[in-house]
């Protein structure tokens, strides 16, 4: 008997941030996944099994997340977790999941440790922040010949990934690392930081900030008349709301990410369908993270289907490792293999133009 | 009786499970001074607090000018014309003397009259005028007591409930206070209910009196009658300290128990 699997049901879990500082990421992602699962369940489930998706809120706090993992794994007996948010939170969860072989699929963190040993039960959805940042810097260096790179970051796992990428990869890209500033999530005034980076002569600034802060930084730089600089965000800042700030405040902001922006493609058939379905279900506009959530659920569903009626941890792993398809929702190719547990390797580079993200490059 | 101003009927007040007032009834007639005597913990303070709405009674009625006022919020009671000069001063410690007095006139709006009354208070207690800018919390105990009384006067009440007005005042000032109260009563017709440990002066000023013990009224009558009672004389006036009790340390039994 496989944990979390019965003849009529397969239990999936997620430990997410529904009320903490990353609720803007966690909530739409969970909604997106729910949308997909509801559709699948309504259509009769997979091999006769309904999907039960249990979501726990950790509000971005570690002790709460262990509590949540304990509940999901020991009480709800989940088969797999998906979309779990936060690097340390996931790492703590591995301690419980690894001994039981519970899968961790497409966690909502782009940290490289998401594929640490034992890698058997771990799958990620898209490129890491590290790779995204590197790709973004490469693009800007090539396109504009910029060489002086700086970073602004929150002292969190997320911030550290991006600042490390900036510092470690600058040289290999023919750039020099010049300066850095750190911030707190509740900061709202960036004149000092922007002045500092400006006087240090930064040409590219990688950003690992909260969404609200990121918008303010770009706005402040504009206000102070600092125009000969490129700000580069990652998938964490790759949100419609950032592009849609009135007055063109964020115009010219770059973002490197693992997918192509949803709103920019809202007239294409797959995104249009998703946007309509999502808005009908939740009464809120669909966002990139909703799309990610939907896609992760889709990946799991495909694997469950491929694993066949006899669902075990081994059959599921084999199914995941054989998955290969083009996601027209994300506009990226998804391919897993026994050697590669990272689904999408594409990195997209976009820039804000007229209130929308415009795709300018792809790796 | 048309000149009945305040009437308390069968009042019971509790502190949680503790019954502090056990069915008290009393009457205060317009223009009279009524004193309530009683030992420690008899419930005098509780009685006054219940009348002024600071505490809620559980049973019974308080009728002021024909209106039932029990259970009212205290500020409404004040508006109706009852002012309570509390035990233990209760001044506003971080406000100046002047501001404390100004608050006494909170319910009034006639500026000229207020100014006149304030000058009157300053006239009664010149030290307050001298210290008008001092924070009330730094006044000496007696000075705070003067302020509390002065503040009560500023309200221009129909009836004043005075809880131990002479507490901590010098003998000279005690005499002056009682002279002032007498004047207020006689010239301005202010009715008073007076709780006072200094029974001699209280009975001297009062027209009627009640004696409370353990939450009940045990004796009542005109002040003169009470003053003549043997029990009152020995327990509240201390007449026999030198005589009957003398250097004896045991106490005589109270006959009303």
């Amino acid at each position: 008997q496989t944990q979390g699997v019965s003849d009529t049901e397969v239990v999936l879990g997620s430990v997410n941030d529904l009320s903490g500082i990353f609720a803007a990421v966690g909530v739409p992602a969970v909604n997106g996944a729910n949308l997909k699962f509801d559709q699948v369940n309504a259509a009769g489930g997979i091999h006769g099994r309904q999907i039960r998706f249990v979501v726990e809120d950790h509000a971005y706090q570690l002790p709460k997340s262990t509590q949540a993992y304990n509940k999901l794994i020991n009480r709800d007996q989940v088969f797999a977790n998906l979309l779990s948010l936060g690097t340390p939170h996931n790492l703590a969860g591995f301690q419980l999941m690894d001994p039981k072989g519970v899968f961790n699929i497409n966690p909502l963190t782009a940290a490289r440790e998401m594929l640490k040993e034992p890698v058997d039960n771990k799958f990620t959805g898209f490129s890491s922040y590290y790779d995204q940042t590197t790709a973004g810097m490469r693009y800007l260096a090539k396109e504009y010949g910029l060489t002086k790179v700086c970073t602004m970051y929150l002292p969190t796992d997320f911030g550290l990934e991006i600042s490390n990428a900036t510092k470690e990869q600058a040289e290999s890209l023919g750039m020099t690392f010049v300066s850095e500033t750190t911030h707190k999530p509740d900061e709202q005034e960036f004149v000092g930081a922007v002045q500092k980076l400006r006087s240090d002569g930064c040409e590219v600034v990688t950003m690992a900030l909260g969404v609200r802060a990121g918008i303010t930084v770009v706005g402040t730089a504009k206000q102070l008349g600092w125009t000969d600089v490129k700000f580069l965000a990652t998938s964490a800042g790759f949100l419609e709301a950032v592009a849609a700030v009135p007055g063109g405040v964020t115009d010219g902001l770059y973002a490197a990410s693992g997918w192509v922006d949803l709103q920019a493609r809202r007239d294409d058939p797959a995104p249009a369908k998703f946007i309509a379905e999502y808005e009908a279900a939740f009464g809120q506009p669909a966002t990139g993270f909703a799309m990610l959530g939907y896609n992760a659920a889709d990946t799991v569903v495909r694997a469950l289907e491929a694993a066949g009626p006899d669902l075990t941890q081994d059959s599921f792993r084999a199914a995941m490792e054989g998955l290969e398809y083009y996601s027209d929702l994300l506009d990226t190719q998804i391919k897993y293999s026994p050697e590669n547990h990272q689904g999408a390797n594409d990195i997209t580079i976009s820039v804000v133009e007229n209130g929308l993200w415009k795709l300018v490059g792809r790796e | 009786m048309s000149d009945l101003l305040l009437e308390v009927r069968n009042l019971e007040t509790f502190y949680g499970p503790i019954m502090a007032i056990r069915g008290v009834s009393l009457e205060v007639r317009k223009g009279r001074v009524v004193t309530v005597l009683g030992a420690n913990g008899a419930g005098k303070t509780t009685l006054l607090k219940t009348i002024s709405g600071i505490m809620d009674p559980e049973k019974g009625k308080i009728i002021f000018e024909g209106q039932e006022i029990q259970g009212w919020e205290p500020h409404r009671v004040v508006k109706a014309g009852i002012v309570h000069v509390p035990e233990g001063r209760e001044v506003f410690p971080l406000l100046t003397v002047e501001e404390n007095l100004a608050l006494g006139a909170y319910t009034r709006s006639d500026k000229a009259e207020i100014a006149r009354d304030r000058d009157l208070v300053f006239n009664y207690f010149p030290i307050l005028a001298e210290r008008r800018k001092q924070e009330a919390g730094t006044l000496s105990g007696g000075q705070q007591q003067m302020l509390a009384i002065g503040r009560g006067l500023m309200l221009r009440p129909k009836i004043m409930l005075l809880d131990e007005p002479s507490l901590g005042l010098s003998p000279l000032l005690t005499q002056e206070i009682f002279a002032i109260l007498k004047r207020l009563n006689q010239d301005e017709g202010v009715t008073m209910m007076l709780v006072e440990q200094n029974a001699a002066v209280a009975l001297d000023l009062a027209d009627d009196g009640y004696v409370m013990e353990l939450g009940r009224i045990v004796m009542s009558g005109t002040a003169d009658r009470l003053a003549a009672s043997e029990d009152i004389q020995s327990f509240y006036l201390g007449h026999d300290t030198e005589g009957a009790r003398g250097e004896r340390r045991w106490k005589r039994k109270k006959t009303w128990r």
């Binding site: - | 913990g41 007696g142 901590g168």
Partner: protein
């Protein structure tokens, strides 16, 4: 040598001279009263002795030791206990606990021993309790032993405060208006208590009191204060008949709870 000596002590609050070049001395075994109009500086003198205030000039000595060199919490260790005019009890605690705090200066065990509740701690606790029960018996506080201060009438609180001071077994007791708010009967009790405190316990008493009846009966010596300076000093009778005291303090028609005074 006197037990307590104040030598030309002066204290100012801003422009106000609350105590003005005051000298006084209290002999061992005396009951000494400080009287004077409201705001004369009597409580301030107490606060100076308790080290809540530091005088601008002058010295305060207790049993030859310089009180001004002590921190406020060290003063009780000299054997000085006090009560407050406006009652400062630990209002959330019971009477018993209040009195036990009075024993604080007699504690012997340290924190670790107390945490482990070693036998020495228990022995000490019994000892404190014994001392406190004596005070309770003396002041007739038995009915209130386990009542919280918050629910006690004013008069009882005054007595509890006296008890708390007594529990510390002081050599000098400072009483700020011990009889204010007490009825005649209770004032009489207070008189006997003060007498016993002096006679049987051998404690010197310095008190502030407006009830001249009480002062006349229990005090050996009276000092009248006005505007922070000495007005008169002597036996109760001498001070009470001093014309300046009558004018500034007593009035011509002084009454005390126990009847007419003069």
């Amino acid at each position: 040598m006197s037990l307590l000596e104040l030598d030309s002590v002066t204290l100012k609050f801003g422009g106000l001279t609350a105590v003005n070049d005051l000298s006084m001395s209290v002999e061992e075994g005396q009951v000494f009263a400080l009287v004077g109009p409201n705001g004369a500086g009597k409580s301030t003198v107490f606060n100076l002795i308790s080290r809540f205030y530091t005088p601008v000039t002058g010295s305060i000595r207790f049993d030859g030791k310089d009180v001004l060199k002590m921190a406020p919490h060290e003063v009780p260790n000299l054997g000085i206990a006090r009560t407050f005019q406006n009652i400062e009890l630990f209002h959330q605690a019971t009477v018993l606990q209040n009195l036990l705090v009075g024993r604080h200066r007699h504690r012997k065990t340290n924190m670790i021993a107390q945490m482990l509740h070693l036998p020495s701690v228990r022995a000490e606790e019994r000892e404190h309790r014994h001392a406190v029960e004596e005070v309770i018996d003396f002041l007739d506080l038995q009915p209130y032993r386990n009542s919280r201060i918050a629910g006690l009438p004013y008069g009882v609180r005054k007595v509890v405060e006296l008890g708390r001071a007594l529990a510390s077994k002081p050599r000098l007791l400072l009483l700020d208006e011990p009889a204010s708010g007490l009825s005649v009967e209770e004032t009489q009790n207070m008189r006997w208590w003060i007498d016993d405190i002096r006679r049987h316990m051998g404690i010197t008493v310095l008190m502030v009191e407006h009830d001249m009846g009480l002062v006349g009966k229990v005090c050996d010596r009276v000092l009248a204060l006005a505007d922070g300076a000495k007005l008169a000093e002597g036996t109760p009778a001498e001070v009470q008949s001093h014309p300046k005291v009558i004018e500034a303090y007593l009035g011509t028609n002084a009454v005390s709870k126990g009847g007419k005074v003069a």
